[in-house]
């Protein structure tokens, strides 16, 4: 890598920790970001000549903090200086910072920064956009592209999110040991949302959205490095890796969606699968059940099956049942029905999802799964009606095309029977 590429990678890697620490000093997202930007500019000037510092994050925090204090002083006439307590730890030198980076203070800084982004008053899409902008440092145009909206709209969304956070206030305190699990859970949920936002079901959108998955994985890695003994974080990391491993096999040459059963398993990413399996193995040793671990375990059973027909559906059924118990949701039951159809047949699966009809009436997958089960039972007319409902609710052209295939097959079978 060239100097610039190396510096770029180092800045990108150090950003979450640096911005997080600066946020602790300044308790203001904008000041923290400006201070970080200033530190980056100085890094670009000095690093090529002096060589990279041993700890880039500590360097950026030290330089950024001094730059931020200068900036605040300069603006003191325009706006009042934060009180002394808000500018804490001003005596830290760079090497002290480097030493502390491994410690609990900085760990909580990163958690705080991500936690600030997942403020419950913000809708999920704003939480994710804000995290990408502030924590990951993705540019507004890139985020806009990933969300398929205009740059102006994304700029506005991020500005609005920041304002709401500033208005809501009071999230900058150090979490008590009792608060930490709740913060971790909120951050984990946001990271999984970010991942799912990137796991597009439309091939045309996939290249623009894939960076969201990469970023979710990168931030989860960071969290895991800071909280290495959290089984649910291991589970989340494993889940993302096991799902992302299949990304290359999810579309055929024409761009149509390929379901799990029909995917070319040789195209799955083995490195990601192995890492996911290793993390899940680690997580299970803790013997603390959790929804991410269970979902990762389900993904692992798919990953472990050499062929689709080798899948251990009975075990998947049990895992979904465990997930239903922890997190009752009609969508989980619907997923379980797929496993049940493989072990106990389509009749049993239909009986399982019958009570969900009302709650999932507007859900594409409900009608898709139901249509598939009816088709297996040879109830063609009922299946056609279910697929018609599904196609009307499809979220992407690829989903619609997939249902269209079933409808065409039903039509062909019906006309073959007539002649």
């Amino acid at each position: 890598m060239s100097d610039i590429a190396w510096i770029d990678a180092a800045l990108r890697a150090a950003r979450p920790e640096a911005v997080a620490a600066l946020l602790r000093y300044f308790r203001d997202l904008d000041i923290a970001e400006e201070a970080y930007q200033e530190a980056c500019l100085r890094a670009l000037k000095t690093w090529p000549n002096n060589g990279p510092p041993r700890n880039p994050a500590a360097w950026l925090i030290f330089v950024g903090r001094n730059a931020g204090i200068d900036g605040v002083r300069r603006k003191a006439r325009e706006r009042p200086l934060p009180d002394e307590a808000a500018l804490s730890d001003r005596e830290d030198a760079e090497d002290v910072i480097a030493e502390k980076l491994d410690g609990a203070d900085y760990r909580d800084d990163v958690l705080r920064l991500l936690f600030v982004c997942c403020h419950p008053e913000l809708p999920a899409t704003q939480q994710i956009a804000l995290a990408l902008r502030i924590v990951s440092g993705l540019s507004v145009p890139r985020i806009a592209k990933a969300f398929l909206v205009s740059e102006a709209a994304m700029e506005q969304r991020i500005t609005r999110a920041k304002r709401r956070i500033a208005e809501a206030g009071q999230r900058f305190e150090t979490p008590s040991p009792a608060d930490r699990p709740a913060r971790l859970a909120a951050v984990a949920a946001m990271l999984y949302l970010l991942f799912n936002e990137g796991y597009s079901t439309d091939r045309a959108e996939a290249p623009a959205r894939a960076p969201l998955c990469d970023e979710a994985i990168r931030l989860t890695r960071l969290m895991l490095r800071m909280f290495p003994a959290e089984p649910e974080l291991m589970g989340l990391m494993a889940l993302m890796l096991l799902q992302n491993a299949r990304a290359g096999a999810r579309f055929d040459a024409s761009g149509a969606l390929v379901l799990l059963d029909a995917q070319d398993r040789a195209a799955w990413n083995r490195d990601m699968i192995n890492e996911g399996l290793a993390l899940l193995d680690k997580a299970m040793r803790h013997q603390v059940r959790g929804p991410y671990q269970i979902q990762a375990a389900i993904a692992a059973l798919h990953a472990r099956a050499a062929r689709a027909e080798d899948t251990d559906w009975a075990q998947i059924d049990l895992l979904y049942a465990a997930l239903e118990e922890l997190q009752p949701s009609p969508v989980v039951t619907l997923n379980r029905a797929v496993a049940v159809s493989k072990t106990k047949g389509p009749d049993a699966a239909l009986a399982l999802i019958a009570p969900l009809a009302e709650r999932l009436a507007g859900y594409f997958y409900f009608h898709g799964v139901r249509g598939g089960l009816l088709m297996q039972l040879g109830r063609r007319e009922d299946a056609r009606r279910a697929f018609d409902q599904a196609i009307a609710l499809a979220n992407t052209p690829a989903e619609a095309a997939h249902i269209r295939e079933h409808l065409d097959r039903l039509a062909a079978e019906a006309s073959a029977q007539k002649t």
Partner: protein, 121 residues
């Protein structure tokens, strides 16, 4: 004399590389590998999974910790490559090794990429 080259780097920086950047680094490394292979000097080489995938067994107290062994008082003195069925199995083997060779800790880390090399001894 053989040397072990323990590759230390800023993990968060390496894990921040894009796939293209990572591939480029690996391709450059491969040129060096090829040269060393031609010279008959290249032994087993491994790339480890991130430290988050590591587990540490502190032998004396039989304490199993998540993450790498980072105590600076002890240094990494060598490594094994062993086929294990599971983490539990790996811990079993580590305990056995620990009986034969007390003190310190074994960091048990899944291997990401294994290049067996040309069998130098």
């Amino acid at each position: 004399m053989l040397y072990a080259f323990l590759c230390y780097n800023n993990e968060s920086a390496v894990m921040s590389w894009t796939k293209e950047e990572d591939d480029a680094v690996m391709a450059k490394l491969d040129l060096v590998h090829q040269k060393l292979i031609e010279q008959g000097r290249f032994g087993p080489a491994l790339r480890l999974m991130p430290t988050a995938a590591a587990t540490t067994l502190v032998k004396e107290r039989d304490l199993v910790l998540d993450g790498p062994f980072a105590e600076t008082k002890e240094q990494l003195l060598g490594f094994y490559v062993i086929e294990c069925d599971s983490l539990e199995h790996a811990l079993e083997i580590a305990r056995e090794l620990g009986v034969a060779n007390p003190g310190g800790a074994y960091e048990i880390r899944p291997v990401r990429l294994f290049l067996p090399g040309v069998g130098v001894s």
